[in-house]
């Protein structure tokens, strides 16, 4: 009984270490392949389009929804203390420091991370990745690197865009519904913020972008078992990257706010 328990614990630990090691090795190979030739500009542009441009509607809708709901909550909360003026300040602080990077990261892990896992998973089970190898092309260089670069560059840009949309979401509620002055809202929104806060937001988004691409590509690349495997890859990619985004957010916040 006890031996069986230790046996199970041991094999579980070994499996976890094996998985973590595999992810670390593939990530290392991806970073090492960034500066390798040939440089495929067209492939990179396609990824910019897929990761960045095609994600704009999702980012606009989620940022607008979250910032509006948050503004409603703040207006209601601060009204209890006759401190409605603080709502726009806290709205700005929350959107820039936390909501924009985290919501953008989580939404994009669902949109692009899952798409990467599904695409690479399908390529794996239909032998297209073996075909790349046989055509003397490193799949890490051809598939992982453009996705990593596109994600690491586009997620911060989309986060900047999300902050801008978030400003207008708060504006709609606090100015349009709650009747605050537009001039006061615009000046108060940035009152508690420093340039460092924007830097923190973009640094977080950069890390989240890397997590999304690396986890999505890794899960897809390691797909086994036909249709079932391809079906599991996106789900597992979204769960893993979302979890790591939240964990990284905590540590980055602690680290960068010091």
């Amino acid at each position: 009984m006890v031996l069986t328990l230790f046996d199970k614990l041991g094999s579980g630990l070994l499996e976890a270490l094996d998985t973590a090691g595999d992810f670390a090795v593939l990530s290392g190979r991806t970073f090492a392949a960034i500066f390798k030739r040939p440089f495929d500009g067209a492939n990179l542009m396609r990824q910019f389009q897929s990761v960045g441009v095609n994600s704009i509607p999702v980012v606009v809708l989620t940022s607008l929804a979250v910032s509006m709901v948050f503004a409603v909550q703040l207006a209601f909360g601060f009204r209890q203390f006759q401190a409605e003026g603080l709502a726009s300040q806290v709205e700005g602080l929350a959107i820039v420091r936390e909501l924009a990077p985290v919501i953008t990261g989580l939404m994009l892990s669902g949109r692009i991370g899952s798409a990467m896992a599904a695409e690479l998973g399908t390529m794996q089970v239909t032998e297209q990745i073996d075909a790349l190898e046989c055509l003397a092309t490193d799949p890490i260089h051809y598939l992982f690197v453009p996705r990593l670069l596109a994600s690491a560059i586009m997620v911060p840009l989309l986060t900047g865009f999300s902050i801008y949309v978030g400003f207008w979401g708060g504006y709609l509620i606090l100015v349009g519904v709650e009747g605050q002055s537009a001039f006061v809202y615009a000046s108060e929104f940035y009152k508690l913020l420093a340039f460092r806060d924007v830097q923190i937001a973009l640094t977080k988004a950069f890390v989240f972008g890397m997590i999304i691409a690396l986890v999505g590509c890794w899960r897809g690349y390691r797909t086994r078992g036909g249709a079932e495997g391809v079906g599991n890859a996106p789900t597992s990619s979204v769960v893993t990257s979302s979890l790591w985004i939240l964990i990284a957010d905590f540590f980055l916040t602690k680290l960068l706010l010091v």
């Binding site: 239909t126 032998e127 073996d130 075909a131 046989c134 055509l135 003397a136 092309t137 490193d138």
Partner: protein, 263 residues
């Protein structure tokens, strides 16, 4: 020295031994056909030659270079001299036929777009697929996909062509077409080929030598005429296509007489 030298090659997946001490030599310009039942390690043999799998023991050498000992860059150099045609073609489904065939040329040669277009047209003509450049793989039939796969494999002018069950799942007419395409490629390009197939008709047309894999071992490797009269009961059973004999591990279901079947 043989162009491809398979020496005491063994490969197992967990407890299942797929290849056991296989020895094969393929000379330059030769066409070897590998026959064998399903799951006897034919594809595993090709994947070891391409370096997609690492042998448990023994080795594969191509032009004297031991595949498993090469660095990744050296392996990619060797792979540029080998064209691999996959069982289900493995075309890149996000690309057109033209982009599929041009893929290797764009990655490994500094050619102008005109030169790439000429080479792609030449390769597609060789396999009878001219005029399909702008189609996507999803718009092609099984036989067409295989032929585009052949065109992609020959685009880099390889010395060796490997065909993994090129006729599986095709109708008899298309099987004959594929057999002829392989023969044409062999004669026009003068390449060394290893073909894995179940189709005996095209095997005897293509082969300079025929090898038979049985339970992970190579039990025969000889000229087609000698192979036909090989006294080994496994070879004879495979040639007859009969269920009764030593070929199957589990006994087949008994043969019913036609009367019993209708009763």
């Amino acid at each position: 020295m043989a162009l491809i030298d398979v020496v005491n090659l063994s490969k197992a997946f967990g407890p299942k031994v797929v290849l056991s001490d296989v020895n094969l030599q393929v000379e330059e310009g030769e066409s070897l056909v590998v026959l064998g039942g399903s799951g006897t390690g034919k594809t595993v043999l090709l994947r070891n030659i391409m370096g997609l799998l690492t042998p448990d023991s023994g080795h594969v050498a191509v032009e004297g270079k031991i595949i498993a000992q090469l660095s990744r860059d050296e392996l990619f150099k060797v792979r540029q001299s080998i064209g691999m045609c996959f069982q289900m073609a493995a075309l890149f489904d996000s690309m057109t036929v033209f982009e599929n065939v041009a893929f290797g040329l764009r990655r490994h040669h500094q050619l102008s777009e005109d030169a790439i277009r000429d080479r792609v047209e030449e390769c597609l003509s060789l396999v009878g697929m001219r005029g399909t450049e702008q189609l996507k793989p999803a718009e092609l039939s099984g036989g067409m996909k295989r032929r585009v796969g052949f065109a992609r494999a020959i685009a880099l002018k390889p010395k060796i062509l490997l065909f993994d069950e090129p006729t599986t799942g095709l109708d008899p007419v298309m099987t004959d077409v594929i057999g002829r395409v392989i023969l044409d490629l062999k004669h026009e390009l003068g390449v060394t080929t290893i073909t894995i197939t179940h189709d005996l008709k095209s095997a005897f047309e293509i082969a300079d030598r025929i090898a038979l894999l049985f339970r992970g071992e190579c039990i025969a490797c000889q000229h087609p005429d000698e192979f036909k009269i090989n006294p080994n009961p496994v070879v004879q059973q495979f040639l007859r296509g009969d269920a009764d004999g030593p070929f199957l591990q589990d006994p087949p279901p008994p043969k019913r007489k036609p009367k019993e079947a209708h009763a």
